[in-house]
């Protein structure tokens, strides 16, 4: 549901297209039933990990003994390089997300919702603020919504820029006014989150699915998918493709269909070489993976992750070493410095990649890079930033080894003319 001119849907337009019907239906169920419906719909978190949304909600303490204040937090940080899907949802149809927030807050009986937005999303913030006041006037936000007895307060918080703000516990720290350092789990945020209260953090796109599950039912939602898990997905493509952009397609749409049909294929003179399927922290997929269904399970089976589903295409004229160097520069800069392997390892990796790119690399450097992919890999650091940073490096060393070696042997970037 979007307008073609890029303006946001007003509340009237949204309602005419069936908006806020899901919310009306939601109040006919009790909160636990809604959580079950979201589970049955097989909605998987769209923030990158693909965890079952209904299952996550089911960990929140419910009933009379539960703490009075609970929070629903919207993760609109979207700082994963190459990712631009949530911006579209926020700018194009803010009411859809608000409806998702209200239903989800009702399901976990949260009395406060906080939308955490990255600083750069000025237009999103303005449009959301307007949408919130429209929804308040219409009686969808506030006290005793639609005579249900349910109350919700919705506020917007804008970030001051740090990738770690997107990690859910880092986000909680930022909302408490601190540095966005991650926290140890357990306790999980569902039990002890923002200001020590039970909190659910969900991605923007995840919440935008919820009104449709309520309105049309879990089976309908599940049936939209073409792979593992329910619903449609916002896929995206950037790089040297003809029609870069965002496309809403059934979850499980194959990679080659995405590139050839929706992204319009490669620009003349460029050939597809590989792609990161879902942002900077995912492993490369190459021509051997073109048939893969882009759902969480199938992409994992190829040794990568669906992540955010916004693919970044590497073409045959772009240097894979330079490509990975750019990514590692980002990760090194955004490391929060909490654990030594990440704080010291990432700048080192960045430096080695730069020297290889500049024609000053040594054969031993490849071994050092390889060691880092293990030493900063899953389970070796406090949060998922470091393993995420190693994903593109590890897969690049595997698929583009000859490029790395050619740089070292010829003492230059083999993609630059000289």
């Amino acid at each position: 549901m979007m307008r073609t001119d890029g303006a946001p849907l007003s509340i009237q337009e949204y309602e005419q297209q069936g908006g806020y019907q899901g919310l009306r239906k939601a109040f006919q169920f009790n909160p636990e039933e809604i959580t079950q419906m979201v589970k049955d719909a097989e909605l998987q978190g769209r923030g990158g990990a693909g965890f079952s949304t209904g299952t996550k909600w089911s960990f929140v303490p419910m009933g009379k003994s539960a703490p009075e204040t609970k929070y629903l937090i919207v993760n609109g940080d979207e700082m994963e390089p190459g990712t631009f899907k949530d911006r579209l949802l926020l700018e194009g149809n803010p009411h859809q997300m608000l409806e998702g927030i209200i239903i989800s807050a009702y399901a976990i009986q949260a009395s406060e919702a906080v939308i955490f937005l990255r600083w750069a999303y000025k237009m999103s913030a303005n449009r959301l603020a307007r949408a919130i006041s429209e929804a308040e006037q219409a009686g969808y936000i506030g006290k005793n919504i639609l005579n249900s007895g349910f109350n919700i307060k919705v506020s917007i918080h804008t970030s001051v820029g740090r990738y770690m703000c997107g990690e859910e516990t880092g986000l909680l720290s930022a909302l408490e006014g601190k540095r966005s350092l991650p926290r140890a789990k357990p306790p999980f945020p569902q039990i002890s989150g923002l200001f020590g209260k039970p909190s659910i953090v969900n991605n923007v796109e995840t919440l935008c699915c919820v009104p449709h599950i309520m309105d049309k039912g879990p089976n309908w939602f599940k049936g939209l998918s073409n792979g593992d898990g329910g619903g449609t997905k916002l896929y995206g493509a950037s790089g040297n493709v003809r029609n870069p952009g965002i496309y809403e397609l059934p979850l499980g749409t194959p990679l080659n269909e995405l590139i050839e049909v929706h992204a319009g294929g490669m620009i003349d003179g460029y050939q597809f070489r590989a792609a990161l399927p879902g942002g900077a922290s995912t492993d490369f997929l190459t021509t051997e993976h073109l048939e893969v269904k882009m759902d969480f399970k199938s992409v994992s089976a190829c040794g990568s992750r669906l992540g955010t589903g916004t693919i970044i295409v590497l073409d045959d004229r772009t240097c894979p070493v330079g490509f990975v160097h750019n990514l590692e520069h980002f990760f090194a800069q955004e490391s929060c410095g909490w654990c030594t392997p990440c704080r010291e390892g990432l700048p080192w990796v960045e430096k080695i990649l730069k020297s290889i790119e500049d024609g000053e690399g040594q054969q031993e450097d490849l071994g050092v890079l390889q060691e880092h992919t293990v030493g900063l890999g899953p389970g070796m650091t406090f949060c998922a930033l470091a393993p995420g940073a190693m994903a593109p490096l590890k897969s690049a060393l595997k698929y583009f080894k000859t490029d790395f070696e050619a740089h070292i042997q010829q003492k230059r970037c083999t993609y630059k003319n000289n």
Partner: protein, 154 residues
């Protein structure tokens, strides 16, 4: 001293929060909006007002990319240096900008008009290369467009 306007805005934030210190980031944003950047003096004023230590405020201020601990020009250019912009050649735009403004990253033009800084992905990768100047997003950048864009900011 914090101005009345700054205090009013900070108080409003504090009123939504369980304790004063939780407004630290908001207070930094508010003071930066008023004064352009965060000086050592501002750090102390905020710390005193929120009843937390100056070290704590400083550690928060230096942690975040968009809190400026050095004076900046009237306009701040944030050019995206992340992957999708790199693939389509943001480096040429950056070089052109540096040549036109005669500054490097982190520097301010002599007339105090522009400060140039890199920023990670601006979330508009389908229309790369991209940059923000103050609150405005500029996309599909080409060298030819730069003069017109820069002229909008005096």
């Amino acid at each position: 001293m914090l101005t009345e306007k700054e205090i009013a805005k900070i108080d409003l934030e504090v009123s939504h929060l369980p304790y004063k210190g939780a407004a630290c980031i908001e207070a930094l944003k508010i003071v930066q909006q008023e004064r352009g950047w965060i000086s050592d003096e501002s750090i102390h004023l905020i710390a005193e007002y929120l009843e937390i230590s100056a070290e704590e405020v400083d550690s928060v201020a230096t942690f975040y990319n968009l809190i400026f601990r050095k004076p900046v020009g009237r306009h701040v250019i944030l050019i995206c240096d992340s992957i999708s912009c790199w693939v389509v050649g943001y480096e040429n735009i950056l070089t052109a900008l540096k040549n036109r403004l005669k500054i490097n990253y982190g520097e301010t033009t002599e007339d105090d008009r522009f400060t140039l800084l890199p920023i990670p992905c601006l979330g508009t990768c389908d229309r790369a290369p991209a940059m923000m100047i103050d609150n405005d997003l500029h996309r599909d950048l080409t060298e030819e467009k730069l003069d017109d864009i820069l002229n909008q900011y005096q």
